[in-house]
Symmetry: C2
Subunit: 358 residues, 2 copies
Amino acid sequence: MVPMIQTGLELMTLKELAEHLGLSPTTVSRALNGFPEVSEATRKKVQAAADTYGYRPNYRARSLATGRAMAIGHVIPMASEHEMMNPVFTDFIAGAGEVYAKNGYDMLISIVPDQHQEQAYQDFKSKGSVDGIIVHAPRAGDRRIHMLNEVGIPFVVHGRASDAHEPYNWVDMDNKRAFHRATDFLLDLGHRRIALINGLEDMDFAIRRRAGVKEALEGRGITPDESLFFSNEMTEFNGYETGRRLLAIQDPPTAFLVSSIIPAIGLRRAIREAGLDVGRDVSIIIHDDDLSYLSNASGGQEPQFTATKSSVRDAGRKAATMLLDIIESGDTAPRTALMEANLILGRSTGPAPNRTTT
Amino acid sequence: MVPMIQTGLELMTLKELAEHLGLSPTTVSRALNGFPEVSEATRKKVQAAADTYGYRPNYRARSLATGRAMAIGHVIPMASEHEMMNPVFTDFIAGAGEVYAKNGYDMLISIVPDQHQEQAYQDFKSKGSVDGIIVHAPRAGDRRIHMLNEVGIPFVVHGRASDAHEPYNWVDMDNKRAFHRATDFLLDLGHRRIALINGLEDMDFAIRRRAGVKEALEGRGITPDESLFFSNEMTEFNGYETGRRLLAIQDPPTAFLVSSIIPAIGLRRAIREAGLDVGRDVSIIIHDDDLSYLSNASGGQEPQFTATKSSVRDAGRKAATMLLDIIESGDTAPRTALMEANLILGRSTGPAPNRTTT
DNA sequence: TAAATGCTCCAAACCGCTTTGGATGCCTGA
DNA sequence: TCAGGCATCCAAAGCGGTTTGGAGCATTTA
């Protein structure tokens, strides 16, 4: 049962293993892959020999023969100027990777300049190196979904494309609802000047979050002040800088909705530098992707930030599971999964302060 | 010259392309791969046809024939309990990925539970899915280096293993020197109670950083107070928690050396909560991996933290370049690259405050 | 002029595995 | 006793490329 790992020895091929056993490659292959045409006795013998010699099938050969690559591709876009590496990829990929590993799939990652993205997907298909693809960070007017549908390779989108009019598989968090609820909560606390520090505005999630905020404001008869809505890459510095500028205006916001914990950390820095207190003078609600190394949890205490929370790692697991299921079942009926975010109370929110100007 | 991308069509094989051209597969293959046995005229014709039909060679088939996988493997350990995903991986991988893409290599990533790591490397080799491996996060007593040397697959270590007595390829930052210099700088400012918030203590980089600190202290005739040295996973919360506890002791440190910007953000939070001022009451020097989304730079201004800075993305590029070079040259003479960190002045350091107790 | 040389191109083997279509031997039932 | 059925196993043909060892032909060289 326990495999005897042999290091430093020449690798063994199926043919060699078959010779050792005095069997044909056919039989050995079938024995190892659990086909019924081989007797239980020989199967045991073959399995034992494979373990002893540390035989492992060559994936390239197998995949050439079966037509299955046993690998999933992820394309990670690289905006060349910023050299920006989105931190949520890390956790998403960690989640997906768990699922792949459990099912014997490899994970192929391509770092691709933005402008070569479509070509990269084409290549995945034509080079035959993957069985399916995860599409990250869909944007408004994203052509990838249409393209992949045409190419006919299984794929799952992490997020949605609002303007895609064809069916496709996706796993998404209910961004609009989450930010609607968060806004409602701030309104309930008496806040009226509410700023939004969002991700890049052509990102689908950013569009939905903004829509959620507007919807909530309008639901209370408040005209959204678009001058308080900001879109940018979600870096610590951008959060800091936006906060600094906003706190210096005439009638500064009393509350901030922030799309990620990272810019929120910058925002908090700006607030403190302005001599204000988070949670008392200024409220913050973040969206918390539950990143493992930037946890919003505070070891049993109340979280630092009030947050809409949804684990992006879990989204990775869900997307990977969905994709593998599509590939292995061959059933192409479009699947979707909408995850709900929890609104979790932390120390960064409080009632709107009384201003000299009410 | 411009390839006409054909979507939705059946993929074309080399054999089919050859038939279309009235040539043999041999000639087509050679034409496309630039062998001299084919005339310039036919090469042009073949190339043009390949472009028109959007032909791309199947990587699995090619790699089976050539014995080269055209892929590099990265194993990312996953400590199952913590579900920790080290953020520096992201940037390192981004750097390496650029180099792979430029050279036509794929990047294979395996998320592997800590205890199955060695098996994962074995598998990489025996499954034949990669030509080389990058080893991440070497630890004290790390068996991977010995194992990979035995297995005989090209690899480059990001970091070093202090106790490895055999040659191997590595790319590392001079951790000891960086922390020595940082400590010297704090000593010059008059600090004597210096704390270290380090990474997990069996990590090689953590060992070297600690050694650098001790060496500097001893160089000035100061006996290191080991009760001020902490090792833990580099999360925001751990930085916060360690800071909180240390600031509450009898004779708290006046300066902190922190192994990453992430726990430093937590530490800063703790310092502010204690009503103290970073840079005046308490000094901080971090090591800055130059993560793209957590930049220490402040848009033209002085950086937030004084830091020893070395781009981990750049390390990724260097390691990938080294590995590809080893693979393609076949030259196994061990290579090493030691990167120097810059000591960059920010707003988090100042002279040691005068205590009532001098 | 005959042999040697180059230049192009091709047939076929091969990479390591899967899978189709038997082949073999033994057992059953009529 | 013999056809038919079943359980095992195998030879050989792929999968889609690369590569070895020529073949065919025009051009030089002796």
